[in-house]
Symmetry: D2
C-alpha cells in the first residue's frame, strides 16, 4: 500500500509502498477515507526538537486524525464490524494502571499514541485496537469525521471534568485561533456562552475571519492590541473579567493575559504547549485570585467522543466545523499541506486517499 513514511530521523517524509499491516488480537484493519493534519504531524514533518526527543520508532507512518472503513476484524472483536465507518481515539492505554482504574485513562501511565509510537493513518490502511475504534454515523462526511479527535480536545478544554462550572451564560476568552481554538469558539457558542472573546497572535486574516464565523463576539489581535487586550475584555464584562480563559496558543504572553483577564474564582484551561519554562507571578495569577487551573491533554475517553457526536448531530454546528477545513488535497501532496500550515494560510488541511 502507499504510505507517508518517515524513514530517517530528519525532516519531511517519503511516499512509499509498504506491506498492508496485519491485525493482531483485538485489532481491526481500516481503509483510510480521509486524514487531517494535526500540529503534531507538522512537528514530526519539520522534525523539531520535540519530535527529535519524542520519536522512538523509525521507520514511522505518521498521521492519526482520520476516518475510514473497517475492512477486517480479529476473531475476538465484538464491538465493531466489517463495513463500519470509524475514527480513532488516538491514545492507546493499558487499562490497568492507577489512572486507567480511576476514570482518567487519557493520562494512562503507559500511553502509546497512534502515528507517533506505532504506525498511523497517512496511508491506505491502518490498524487499530478495537477499543480505539469509534463508530461513526455512516452518513458523516469522512473529512468532518477525521477532525472529531481535535474537536474532542476543544471540548476537553472547555469541560475538563465531568463536574465543572458550566459556561452557559458566562463570558469566556479563547487565546489562540489555531484549529482547536477555532473549534473551541464554535463549541462555546453551542454551549450557550454569553460573550466569547478570541485573541489571535498576529493579523492572520484566515483565522480571524474563521473566528468570527465560529461565533466570537470580539476578536482581538495580540500584535495590534497587545497589552490593552486585558483592559478591553474587562471593560466588556462589567469590569468582572472572564469566567473562563482557554489558553490555546502556547505563548507566555497569552498565558499571563489569561490569568489577568480572569474574574476572581474563575478558571483557566491550559492546552497550548510552551516552548520552555516561563516566569509566572503565581501570587496574583493564581493564589490571590482563587483561580482554578486545568492542564489539558488528550480527551476524556470516551465522554468527549459522545459529546462531540451529540454536538455534530446539529447541522448548523456541523457546517461551522466543516468550514474550519480550508483545504482538501490528495494524500500524496502532503508536502504541500505541511507548507500551507507552516505558512499559516490554512486552518485545517484534510488529506484524501489519492496517491
Amino acid at each position: 500500500m502507499y504510505a507517508i513514511v518517515k524513514k530517517m530521523r530528519g525532516p519531511e517524509a517519503e511516499i512509499s509502498t509498504v506491506d498492508v499491516p496485519k491485525i493482531k488480537k483485538n485489532e481491526v484493519l481500516v481503509k483510510v477515507k480521509a486524514a487531517s493534519i494535526c500540529g503534531t504531524d507538522v512537528h514530526l514533518w519539520n522534525w523539531n526538537e520535540w519530535a527529535q526527543n519524542r520519536v522512538r520508532k523509525i521507520p514511522l507512518i505518521f498521521g492519526h486524525e482520520f476516518a475510514g472503513e473497517v475492512l477486517e476484524i480479529d476473531d475476538d472483536v465484538t464491538s465493531v464490524e466489517e463495513g463500519d465507518m470509524v475514527s480513532a481515539e488516538t491514545h492507546i492505554v493499558d487499562g490497568t494502571c492507577y489512572q486507567c482504574q480511576t476514570d482518567r485513562m487519557h493520562v494512562c501511565q503507559n500511553m502509546e499514541i497512534l502515528g507517533v509510537d506505532r504506525d498511523g493513518a497517512f496511508a491506505e490502511y491502518v490498524v487499530l485496537p478495537e477499543r480505539n475504534a469509534w463508530k461513526n454515523d455512516p452518513n458523516l462526511d469522512p473529512a468532518i469525521a477525521s477532525i472529531q479527535e481535535p474537536l474532542g480536545n476543544a471540548v476537553q478544554t472547555i469541560l475538563p471534568k465531568d463536574h465543572i462550572e458550566d459556561v452557559a451564560g458566562k463570558n469566556v476568552a479563547v487565546l489562540g485561533c489555531g484549529p482547536i481554538g477555532l473549534m473551541a469558539i464554535a463549541v462555546l457558542k453551542a454551549l450557550g456562552a454569553a460573550k466569547i472573546f478570541a485573541t489571535a497572535g498576529g493579523l492572520n486574516k484566515v483565522r480571524m475571519e474563521l473566528a468570527k464565523r465560529m461565533g466570537a463576539d470580539m476578536i482581538l489581535s495580540a500584535s495590534e492590541e497587545g497589552k490593552s487586550i486585558v483592559k478591553v475584555i474587562r471593560d466588556a464584562t462589567d469590569g468582572n473579567g472572564v469566567d473562563a480563559a482557554l489558553e490555546m496558543s502556547g505563548s507566555p504572553v497569552a498565558v499571563r493575559q489569561a490569568f489577568e483577564m480572569l474574574t476572581p474564582g474563575g478558571r483557566v484551561s491550559l492546552l497550548g504547549i510552551l516552548e520552555k519554562p516561563m516566569e509566572l507571578d503565581l501570587n496574583n495569577a493564581v493564589v490571590f485570585k482563587a483561580a482554578t487551573v486545568y492542564g489539558i491533554t488528550g480527551r476524556r475517553m470516551f465522554q468527549t467522543w459522545h459529546q462531540v457526536k451529540g454536538l455534530l448531530s446539529n447541522p448548523d454546528f456541523r457546517n461551522k466545523i466543516a468550514s474550519i477545513i480550508t483545504h482538501k488535497i490528495p494524500m500524496k501532496d502532503v508536502a504541500k499541506g505541511m507548507g500551507l500550515i507552516n505558512s499559516k494560510q490554512a486552518a485545517k488541511v484534510v488529506l484524501e486517499p489519492r496517491w
Copy 2:
C-alpha cells in the same frame, strides 16, 4: 395606587385602590412596567388547597414576576439607583441561617416570598429589599424582563448545582410543556443538548407548537402515545435512554416515565409539584439505576440570574423566549388572564400597567 388585592380567603381578587407602599431600611420602591402570571398566581386566584394552606397574609397584593423602574431608595441602599430598571428575585432570605451560610439561600429556613408572604407586583408600585432587586439592561423589553424569574427556574432545573454533569451533546427529555418546560427546551437547545424530547399531557396545540419552536426534536403526546413514550425515546437514543430527564408536569405518570427513560447513572430533576404522595418503585427507578435525583425549588441566588442574563444577551434566544408570551393584556383584565391559563389557551400571559 391600583392593585389586585385578595381581600378575603376565597377565590379571585379585586382591583382596588390602596396606599402606595413605603420603603423601610434597605428597601427600594419600584414602578411596575410589566408583570407576568405564574402558576402560583393561578393557585392563589383559584384559591386551591395549596393556597388555602399557604397564605397567611390577607389582604394580599399578589404577583411576583415583574420588571419596573426604581422610583425611590432608602438611604442605606448602595447597589441600586433611582431610574434603574429592575426585576425581583422573589425569595427574601434571612442571610444568616445554615442554608444561607452554605451557598443555598434559595432554601433559606426563614424564607418569605414576594406576592405570597408580603405584597407583590400586581399593582402600580411594589417595594423590594435592595438585595432582591436585580438590575436589568435598560434596553430589555419589560415583558421579557418580567419572565426572567421563571427562566431562572428552568436554568435551575437543568443545572441544579454549580458542578453538574453537563448537558452538552447529551440527550435530554422535558416532561411537561408548561411555560417553564418550554423555557427549559429553549435553554437546553442553547446549551448544546443533542436530542431534546418533549412530552405534553394532552393535545394542547399551543404548547406543542411552542415546544417545536423552542427546539424540541421530538414532541410526544402523553394522551396519545402513553406507555410507548419510553420505548420511542429509548429507540431514538441507541437504546441508552436519556442522560437527563426533567420532570416539569407534576404528573405521577410522568415522574415514573422520567425514571424509566433514564440511562443508568443518569439524572432526573423534579420541579413539578404533585397533588399528593405517589407510589414509586425506588429499587428500579433509583437504586439499581444509580440515578441521581435533584429536587428543584427556586433558583440559586444569584448564579441563575447571571446565567439568564448571559443567555438573554443572544438575540435568537431572546426572541424564542419572547414567543412564549402568548398574551399581553391590561393588568385590570387579570381575570381574563387567569381564564386563558386555566383553559390552557395561553403559555405565558403578561399584564401591562393599564388600569
Copy 3:
C-alpha cells in the same frame, strides 16, 4: 474440588465435589482463602422471590466476597501473577457499552455478577477475569480482604461520585445497622463526620453495640423511638437536620425518615432494597427540600477499591472493620452461617476453606 452448589431451583444448597474450573482467555484461577456471606447469598440460600426471578444458571456455585491466592493465569494476563493474593470486584462488565465508556461501568448494560451469573467463590477454587482481580497486600488477613467488596459499597454510599459534598465536619445519619451500615459508620468516622446518628430496626444488641464501636454518636432504636427519631436528630443538630442521610435498611419507614431528617439542600443515598414500590411525598421529601438523591448499586470501578485500600492502611480502622466479622466458621458449615444471619445473631460471617 469441594463447592457449595445450588443444584435445583429451591432453598439451600449442597456441598458437592465438582471439577476444578478451567481458565479461559484473560482469566485467572484463584485458591480461596476466605469467603464472606453477603445478603445476596442469604437470598440465594433462602431462595426468596428476588432469587427466583434473578437466577438463570443452575447448577450454580454461589458466593462472591472472598480473598485467595492466584494459582494459574492465562497467557494473556499481564497485571496479575501466580502467587498474588487477590480479591474480586464482583461486577464483570463489557467495557464497551455507553456506561462503560463514560466512567460508570458499575452500571454496565451487560453486567454479569460473580456467584450469581457465573460460578462464584464458595468453593476451593474460583475463576476470575484478570480485570476483576484486585491485588491485595500479601499481609492483609484474608478474612478482612474478603469484605473489601461490601466495604466498597459503604464508601460508594458515602461518596457516590467523585465530586460530591464532603462529609467532613458534617452531621450524617445511617439508617440501618446491617454489615454495610456498620461499615458506613466506621468510614464516616474515618472521614471526619461531626455527629453520626445510627438507627436500627429493632433491639438487636449485637448490631447496636457494634454501631457504637464503629463510632456512632447516637444510636436510636426504630422500634422503641419510632416517630421521635426525626425530632431527636433535629434537636441534636441545632434544628438543621443532617447533611446526609444514608438509607441502608430497605424499610419504607426509614426511607421517609431519611428525607424528614435531612437539612434543606442536603443529600440522601439509597442503598437499601425495598420489598416493593412505596408511597413517597415527593413534594416535601425532595422538591421543596432541594434534596439530592443518589441511587447506590455496586461500587465505582475501581476508585472505591483504591479508597478502601487507603482506609485499611490505617491499623485502627482495620481493627474496627475486623470486629464486624462476628463469626469465622468452616465453609462446609455454610448452613450454620446462613442461620446465624437469618436469626440476626451475626454481623458478618466469614467462611474458611475447611471442608
Copy 4:
C-alpha cells in the same frame, strides 16, 4: 482601652491606650479573650515589603485571629446576642459584587480585612459586623477558638470547593510545616487520607515533631533530602505519586516539587505566598499531567466555619489542634511573641488579654 497600635509606617508597634471603639449599624462590640498571631501580623510587625504596599490605614490596631465575648450589639443585630462567645470571619465583604452573588464571597471585589483595613483584635475590645461574628460553643477554650480562622484556611486548602475529589484513602503531601501546614496534616488525618507526607524547609525540630504528632506518616527535610524528596514519595506510593499536593511554604522549590510528586490527573493547592514571580515548566507541571491547580486565599464563607466546628467537636482532633499552640503569653508581650515566631521556636502563639 489598651491596644497594640501601629502608629507609624515602620516596624513594630506600640502598646497604647485608645478609646473603646463604637459600634455602627449592624455591628457588635466584642471583649477579646484570646488572640493568636498570624503570619500576616508578623509581616505587619516586621513592616516588610508586602506590609508597606498593603497597609493604607495608620494608626492601625492589628490582629484578627481571636475569640471573645459580645458586650454590645446594634439595634439591627438579630443573629448574635450579648454574652455570646464569638470569633471572627476576618473578611468583610460587600455582599453585592459578582463574586458575592455567585458563592465566592471570599474573593469579594471590595474586600476589607480585619486588622489590616480596619482596627483589629490585639486590643481589649474590637468591633465586628454582625455577619462576621461566628458564634462559638461557650465551652470552647478561647485559645482554640481564636485559631479557627487559620484552621479554616487549612480546610480550604484541602477542600477548595464544595465538589472536589475527596482525600479519603488518598495519598497527600503537605509542603511546609508552618501553623497552617500543621493544621492541614491534622485535618487530612481526620478526613481519612491514606499516607500523609510532610516536607519542611529546614531542620526545625519543633515543627517536625508537631508534624509527626499531627499524623504525618513521613516527614522529609527539604534541606537534608532536597531533590530526593520526590523520589522518596513516589517510591512510597507504588510509583504513582500523590493524589493531592498542598503547597504551604511559598518556596519555589516546593512549588516545583509539588507538581513533580503529583500523580497524573491529580491536584495541587497553592496557599503559600511567593516572594516574587517564579519560573515554572507549565508543560510538564500542568499540561501533560492534566493537573488541576487551586489558588487558595481566605476561606469559603461560611462552609469552612461549619466544617471546622464539626471537626473540633471531636475531642481527639481538638487536642491535636491545641498542641499547635506552643506559647500563651500576655498581649503586652507581643514583641516577645513576634520574636518567637521570627526565630521559628514557636508554632502558634496565643496572646492573652493581660496588659
